[in-house]
C-alpha cells in the first residue's frame, strides 16, 4: 500500500480575543491508498480543524497552520497559495460536510451545483457536465435523476441531500474524500444507507476516505484504521481491531466504556469525569491527566510520546512505559471486549 497523504507534526492555532487557541498540537498520520481512516474525538478535540487544514479551508486570517507539513503527492498543502489550493480542491481532495442543508446552495439547482466542479476542473461543456451530473446522481442512488437534476435542495429529504453532497464531492474523481460527520444529522436508517453508499463508492473508485465522527458504532462499521484525538493530539492510532479489541489509552477506554452495549443491563455506565481542557491554555504534560484515574505523576510534568504497541498500533500514554505499573482497563471495558470475543467465536447475533 502506498502513502497518499502524509501529515507531519501539524499544529493549527486560532487567534481569538482571549488569546491563541491551540486547536491542533502536533498531529502526524499517513493515509494509504484505498483505505478508510476514521478520526474519532469529542467536540473540541481538533478533528474537524485537522480536516479543514488538509483542504486549506481554515478561516482566514484568524486560523493558521503554525507548524508542520501536509504532503500530498510530495507537495506541501500547508504552503500552497489560494490558487494552487483551488486546483486540488475537488480534484485531489474533496469534502462531505455534516449538515447537507447548509452545505448546499439553496438558490441553485442541484444539477448546477454538481456541474460547477466538472466545468472548472475538467473543462467540460455545459451539456457534457449535465450528462455527467445525471450519471452521478444515479450513482449515489437518487431515483429519477433526469428530473431531480433540475430541482432545488429544499425539494430533497435530508438523506437525499446528503447523497447530492456526496455526488458533488465525487464529481471530479478525487483520490481523497474527507467526510466530516456526514451522518450525524441523519436518522439511523438513513445513516445506514449513506454508510453503505460510501463503502460501495470506495469499492468502485478506490478512493481513500478520512471519516470524522464521534460515533464509535459508525467507526466500527466503516473504518480500516482509527485515530483517536484528544485535546488537539492523536492519543491512539491503530487498525480498527487494535482500537476496539486491544485499546491501550485510558481515554479510548473511557470512550468505549461510556457507550452502552445492547445487552448491558443495570450497571452504571463508565464515564470520563470532568470535561475537556481549555485550549487557550492547554495543561502541562498529558492533557488527559486531570480526567484520568490512572494518571501517573509524570503525566503532569511531561507529555507522553507515542509508544509502539505493534507495527500498526501506537498509543501516547505513560502507562506503556516499561517502568509504569501494569494497569488493566476498567472492568466494564474488559467485559465488553470479552463479550465481543465470545460473539466472534460463537457466531454473530441478529
Amino acid at each position: 500500500m502506498s502513502k497518499l497523504l502524509e501529515v507531519k507534526d501539524l499544529h493549527v492555532s486560532f487567534n481569538t480575543y482571549s488569546g491563541e487557541v491551540q486547536a491542533v498540537r502536533g498531529v502526524s498520520f499517513d493515509l494509504n491508498e484505498g483505505e478508510t481512516l476514521a478520526i474519532v474525538g469529542e467536540s473540541g478535540s481538533g478533528k474537524s480543524v485537522t480536516s479543514a487544514a488538509l483542504m486549506g479551508l481554515l478561516p482566514k486570517p484568524q486560523g493558521f497552520i503554525k507548524n508542520g507539513q501536509i504532503l500530498l503527492n510530495g507537495k506541501d498543502v500547508a504552503k500552497m497559495s489560494e490558487k494552487e489550493l483551488e486546483k486540488i480542491r475537488g480534484k485531489e481532495i474533496s469534502m462531505v460536510f455534516q449538515d447537507p442543508m447548509s452545505s448546499l446552495n439553496p438558490t441553485m439547482k442541484v444539477g448546477n451545483q454538481i456541474m460547477e466542479g466538472l466545468i472548472k476542473h475538467q473543462g467540460m461543456s455545459r451539456s457534457e457536465a449535465k450528462k455527467k451530473a445525471i450519471e452521478l446522481l444515479d450513482q449515489v442512488g437518487i431515483p429519477y435523476p433526469e428530473i431531480r437534476v433540475n430541482q432545488y435542495p429544499h425539494q430533497f429529504s435530508g438523506g437525499m441531500r446528503q447523497r447530492v453532497v456526496i455526488a458533488i464531492a465525487l464529481a471530479c474523481n478525487p483520490k481523497i474524500l474527507i467526510a466530516d460527520e456526514p451522518t450525524t444529522a441523519l436518522d439511523v436508517t438513513i445513516q445506514a444507507q449513506i454508510l453503505e453508499l460510501m463503502k460501495e463508492i470506495q469499492k468502485n473508485t478506490k478512493c481513500s476516505i478520512i471519516f470524522i465522527t464521534h460515533d464509535l458504532g459508525v467507526v466500527a462499521n466503516v473504518a480500516d484504521r482509527v485515530a483517536v484525538m484528544y485535546a488537539g493530539k492523536i492519543v491512539e492510532i491503530g487498525t480498527v481491531d487494535d482500537i476496539f479489541y486491544n485499546p491501550k489509552h485510558p481515554y479510548t477506554w473511557g470512550l468505549l466504556g461510556s457507550m452502552p452495549t445492547l445487552d448491558s443491563a443495570d450497571e452504571e455506565l463508565y464515564t470520563i469525569p470532568g470535561s475537556p481542557p481549555d485550549m487557550t491554555n492547554p495543561p502541562k504534560g498529558d492533557a488527559f491527566a486531570p480526567r484520568n484515574q490512572y494518571a501517573l505523576e509524570i503525566d503532569t510534568v511531561m507529555e507522553p510520546p507515542m509508544f509502539k504497541v505493534s507495527d500498526t498500533h501506537y498509543a501516547a500514554t505513560w502507562l506503556l512505559h516499561e517502568y509504569a505499573p501494569k494497569v488493566e482497563p476498567p472492568e466494564s471495558v474488559r467485559k465488553r471486549i470479552e463479550s465481543f470475543a465470545k460473539e466472534r467465536n460463537g457466531g454473530v447475533k441478529l
Binding site: Q191, V219, A220, M259, T261, E268, L269
Partner: protein, 313 residues
C-alpha cells in the same frame, strides 16, 4: 409489572397540525400507551415519527386534536382552573433537547432554577430559596458557586444539568425527557444518563424518555414504544423488543444501529422496511400478540406475527 400503578394513560391520542388548503398533518395519530409509576418508558422513532409531539402534547404544550391523556386518573387536557393547572404543572416537568436554547441567557442559574419555586410558592424566604437551589445544584453534580453565573459560562453537559435541576425544583413525579442527550458528546452523554438514573432512584421519579439513539434508550428504559409516521407500531418490555422485534419497521430500525464492534459490523445484515408488505385489507389496530407485547397489525397479520413469535421462543 401489571400489578403496578398506572401513572399516565394515553388513550387514542391525536395531534393534527393544519397544513393549509384544508389539509392536515397527522403528527400523532391514535397513540395509546400507559406509563407505570417508577418506570422509564422509552419512546423511539425517526425524525417526523411524532415522538416529540407526543411528549409535548402529554404535557399540554399542545392541545390534543383527539383522544385523552389521564394523569393519575384525571384528564390532562380541557379546561382547568388556575389552581388545578398549577398542581398539574408541578407534578409533570420536562427536560429539553438543546440545553443552550432552553435556558434564558439573561437569567442567572439561581433564577432559572428558582423560577418554579417562585411560581408555585414553594419557598417562603430568600434564604430558603437559596438553600433549595444549592441543594438542587448538588443533586445534579454542580456546586453552589455556580448559582450566580449565567448559562453561557457552562459547557453543554453542565447546561443540561441545569435543565435537570430546574425540572427537579418543584419536586415533580413525572419527567418527560425529550432527547436530553442528543446534543452532547459521548463521554458527557454517559454522565447525564447515569445522573438521570441516580435521580430516579433517589426521588422515585417516572420518566418518559424520548430519543432516537436506540442503544441508550435500551439501556435506560424498562419498556419501549416504537413510533413510525404518527403511529405506535410496537410496544414491549425493552428486552423483549430487542430480542424479539415483530413489526417489520422495528426490525429495520434495530438492524440499522451501528455497534462499536468491528466484527459484528462486518457481518451485520441490514433489513430495509418496505411498507407495501403490509396487509391492506383493513385498517391496522394495536393488538397484544403476547402478554405485554403490542404490535400494530391487521387481523391477518396478527395471526402471522403470533406464529412468528412462538417459533422464535
Amino acid at each position: 409489572m401489571s400489578s403496578k400503578e398506572k401513572l399516565l394513560e394515553v388513550k387514542g391520542l391525536k395531534k393534527y397540525f393544519p397544513a393549509g388548503k384544508g389539509k392536515w398533518i397527522k403528527a400523532v395519530d391514535d397513540v395509546t400507551f400507559d406509563v407505570y409509576k417508577g418506570e422509564t418508558f422509552g419512546l423511539v422513532g425517526e425524525s417526523g415519527s411524532g415522538k416529540s409531539t407526543t411528549g409535548r402534547t402529554i404535557i399540554r404544550l399542545y392541545d390534543a386534536t383527539g383522544g385523552e391523556v389521564l394523569y393519575d386518573g384525571k384528564p390532562v387536557h380541557g379546561k382547568k382552573s388556575r389552581k388545578e393547572l398549577l398542581e398539574f404543572n408541578r407534578k409533570m416537568q420536562m427536560i429539553f433537547q438543546d440545553p443552550s436554547s432552553s435556558l434564558n441567557p439573561r437569567m442567572t442559574v439561581m433564577d432559572i432554577i428558582a423560577e418554579g419555586l417562585d411560581v408555585h410558592g414553594l419557598v417562603s424566604s430568600k434564604e430558603e430559596r437559596r438553600a433549595r437551589v444549592e441543594e438542587l445544584l448538588q443533586n445534579v453534580g454542580l456546586n453552589k458557586e455556580h448559582a450566580t453565573r449565567f448559562p453561557h459560562e457552562f459547557s453543554g453537559g453542565q447546561r443540561q444539568r441545569i435543565g435537570i435541576a430546574r425540572a427537579l425544583a418543584v419536586k415533580p413525579e413525572f419527567i418527560i425527557c425529550d432527547e436530553p442527550i442528543s446534543a452532547l458528546d459521548v463521554s458527557i452523554q454517559a454522565q447525564v444518563v447515569n445522573l438521570l438514573k441516580k435521580l430516579q432512584k433517589q426521588f422515585g421519579l417516572t420518566y418518559l424518555f424520548i430519543a432516537h439513539d436506540l442503544s441508550m434508550v435500551k439501556y435506560i428504559s424498562d419498556r419501549i414504544g416504537v413510533m413510525h409516521l404518527g403511529h405506535m407500531v410496537e410496544l414491549a418490555d425493552s428486552e423483549e423488543l430487542y430480542n424479539n422485534p415483530i413489526h417489520p419497521y422495528t426490525k429495520s430500525l434495530l438492524s440499522a444501529i451501528p455497534l462499536p464492534d468491528p466484527n459484528y459490523e462486518r457481518e451485520r445484515k441490514r433489513i430495509t422496511y418496505d411498507p407495501s408488505i403490509h396487509d391492506t385489507s383493513e385498517e391496522p389496530q394495536f393488538r397484544e400478540i403476547s402478554p405485554r407485547h403490542w404490535v400494530r397489525c391487521t387481523t391477518k397479520e396478527f395471526e402471522e406475527y403470533k406464529r412468528e413469535l412462538e417459533k422464535r421462543k
